[in-house]
């Protein structure tokens, strides 16, 4: 069972990497980019029947730092 966890910085938390990427895109001549936020994806290969609550627990205990990050769990 493939599961994908998408971790993003919370809205309002400064994302210097996103800003740098935004700057570089603008430098390459791409106009119309309003904002860029950089996150990360963690792909999990889980035993069938793994409880959603267990996956959420993994996110809260390790995969995301909920002080600064949000996470989203997607079944592939």
């Amino acid at each position: 069972m493939k599961t994908r966890v998408v971790v993003t910085l919370k809205p309002g938390v400064l994302d210097p990497q996103g800003k740098a990427v935004h700057h570089a895109l603008t430098g390459l001549g791409f106009g119309g980019v309003n904002d860029v936020r950089v996150g990360k994806i963690v792909e999990l290969d889980l035993a069938d029947g793994t409880e959603p609550a267990a996956i959420e627990d993994m996110c809260r205990k390790l995969l995301a730092n909920t002080v600064i990050e949000n996470f989203r769990i997607e079944q592939a």
Binding site: L14, P16, K61, V67
Partner: protein, 221 residues
């Protein structure tokens, strides 16, 4: 007096911290590997050193915070043992939950490696008692992820309770309210990004960091 320094794969300031403890306590510092599940008996001070534990995988300090030894460190901190986390050690302590907030990528994206000015936020802790309130000191930083973040309520509480130990005198890394170091509510855990162990003797150029260790040893003697 017995001090220990935790060693993770990727720690690189563990020896410096151990030397600082040895110089001030007069006893050899015990080095404890991250895989240990228990700490030596009778510890008075635990140092969580700088470096790049576990290669900063996932987030700085994230993997180290879940290592077996950190459970023992958290238990010891709960019993009142003094814990000093420097740089990566500060990141580990926030990831462990022993200190509030988080340390994010520096706002300017640059790795910052230089001497910085600090003001002492409070002299009312076992770590800072040898400084004056508001005193300006100089201690080096060397980090990529030192941008302290916490929500406004947490920041207000830290300031209101006198738990901001050190502030940068100017913007170094984008830290909220220029916070460079904080203590926990019980006052026995200090996390700070600057490296006091790199300024403890005249040969280092200055000795501004020495008084943290002197204060700690004095408080525990």
């Amino acid at each position: 007096m017995k001090a220990a320094v935790i060693v993770f794969p990727g720690s690189n300031c563990d020896r410096d911290l151990a030397v600082a403890f040895r110089e001030l306590t007069g006893h050899e510092t015990v080095m404890v590997w991250h895989g240990e599940t228990t700490l030596p008996d009778g510890l008075d001070i635990i140092g969580v050193p700088g470096g790049f534990s576990y290669g900063d995988y996932l987030r700085s300090g994230a993997m180290a915070a879940r290592s077996p030894v950190m459970r023992a460190v958290a238990d010891a901190a709960g019993r009142g043992v003094a814990v000093l986390g420097v740089c990566n050690g500060f990141q580990v302590l926030t990831e462990t939950g022993l200190l509030p907030g988080a340390l994010m990528r520096n706002a300017g994206l640059n790795f910052v490696c230089r001497d910085v000015g600090l003001t002492v936020g409070t002299s009312q802790t076992m770590f800072t008692s040898r400084y004056e309130d508001g005193e300006e000191i100089v201690i080096p930083v060397a980090h990529h992820d030192g941008n302290y973040f916490a929500d406004d309520a947490t920041l207000d509480r830290l300031e209101g309770e006198g738990r901001v130990a050190f502030r940068y005198t100017g913007d170094v890394n984008g830290s909220a309210r220029n916070i460079a170091g904080i203590v926990n509510d019980a006052g026995n855990v200090l996390g700070m990004m600057p490296h006091p162990e790199r300024m403890i003797e005249a040969a280092h150029g200055r000795t501004d960091g020495r008084r943290i260790f002197e204060g700690l040893v004095g408080a525990l003697a």
